[in-house]
């Protein structure tokens, strides 16, 4: 039998599997979770390096001359040093990078789980979602560090950041760090797979 029916871009709850689709999806997610954890652990060292280097680059866009250095410690912590605080180099923050990007575990499991979708398409969509995730994590590391600069360095913060800037970095960090970080896997999954849970559209008359 031709498998072209699996290649439609509009998954429809038919073939007797519609009512079971969420059950199959949930089963697949749980089965894929250990593999997703393993994949996350495997790519974490490279991913951490990308976040540290990319975050430093983005921070430098707002500094003239460049004042921030972000170092990778033990492959999993970002050590933030600022050159113009307290008259010289000063360590200002340490971030646990896993805390930023552990949502990738759920992302991988959700994107590889949808039943009835060809594997090539699942991986392609996961790749796109991972790129969006990387952009998000880079934004998150910038907001984490800038919120330290704006709110946690006492007089230096008050001197360099006005009330609008402090609210911007503080609220932005709060929104990115909790709701958007935790909601991102569902947000991205729904971008590609919402039709798996939408009601089937009636077939047009011939």
């Amino acid at each position: 039998m031709p498998r072209s029916s699996r290649r439609t871009s509009t998954p429809v709850a038919t073939r007797g599997g519609g009512a079971d689709r969420p059950t199959h999806l949930a089963r697949n997610v749980l089965l894929l979770l250990p593999a997703a954890v393993a994949l996350w652990l495997a790519v974490a060292p490279v991913y951490n390096r990308m976040l540290v280097n990319g975050g430093e680059l983005l921070l430098h866009l707002g500094e003239s001359p460049n004042q921030t250095r972000v170092y990778l410690r033990e492959g999993r912590y970002a050590m933030v040093v600022r050159h113009d605080v307290s008259g010289g180099q000063r360590f200002v923050a340490e971030l646990t990078l896993a805390d930023l990007h552990f949502n990738l575990i759920l992302l991988v499991a959700l994107f590889l789980a949808p039943p009835g979708v060809p594997w090539a398409r699942r991986w392609r969509r996961l790749g796109l979602a991972a790129l969006a995730g990387l952009a998000f994590h880079l934004a998150l590391i910038v907001f984490r560090i800038e919120s330290v600069y704006a709110l946690e360095l006492g007089e230096w913060s008050a001197r360099h950041y006005g009330p609008v800037a402090r609210n911007f970095w503080g609220l932005g960090k709060h929104l990115l760090d909790l709701p958007l970080k935790l909601g991102l896997p569902l947000l991205l999954w729904a971008t590609f797979y919402l039709r798996l849970v939408l009601p089937a559209r009636p077939e047009a008359a011939a």
């Binding site: 709701p179 958007l180 569902l186 947000l187 919402l194 849970v197 939408l198």
Partner: protein, 181 residues
Amino acid sequence: MSESSPTTVAGWWRRPEARFLLAFTLLLAGGFAFLAWNPINDHLVEPFTAGVARASAALLNFLGQGVRQEGSMLRNDRFAVNVLNGCNGVETLVIFWSAVLAFPTATWRARVAGLLLGSLAIQAINLVRVAALFLTGAYLPRFFDSSHTVVWQTIVVLCGVLLWIFWASRFGPRRRPAGGP
């Protein structure tokens, strides 16, 4: 053939996915901003968190842990933990509520039922999380940090996502009369 081509930006914005994404993001951000507002945090979130701590203490004492609750703090002779934002299940609740309210095709009765039942389920899972983390801290302390940051956050959010998917698939669609246009 779909009436709006997915290959054009204008076509994509007319699709239900676009409406869901926009509504979900706005509800998520707005919901968290609302809960972060000091009067709401002080008079709603903090008492709720203390209630979560109370229920967790009851569960742990049912398991024979001899836990005392002091506000949002749980302690016994082996371990102490402070139940804060991030461990009260509120984030997953807001994600779940935002996803239910943003879903493009559902009756309000289905939404209300989903919100109530889903909230109970998420809080039950969160209760297990708090108790499990306390036991991890008491008996396997070297696993506490990773359990707290990665493992249980992932599990609770995953449960919220799966609950929404089940609700959307089974209760979300409006019932259409048979043979209608």
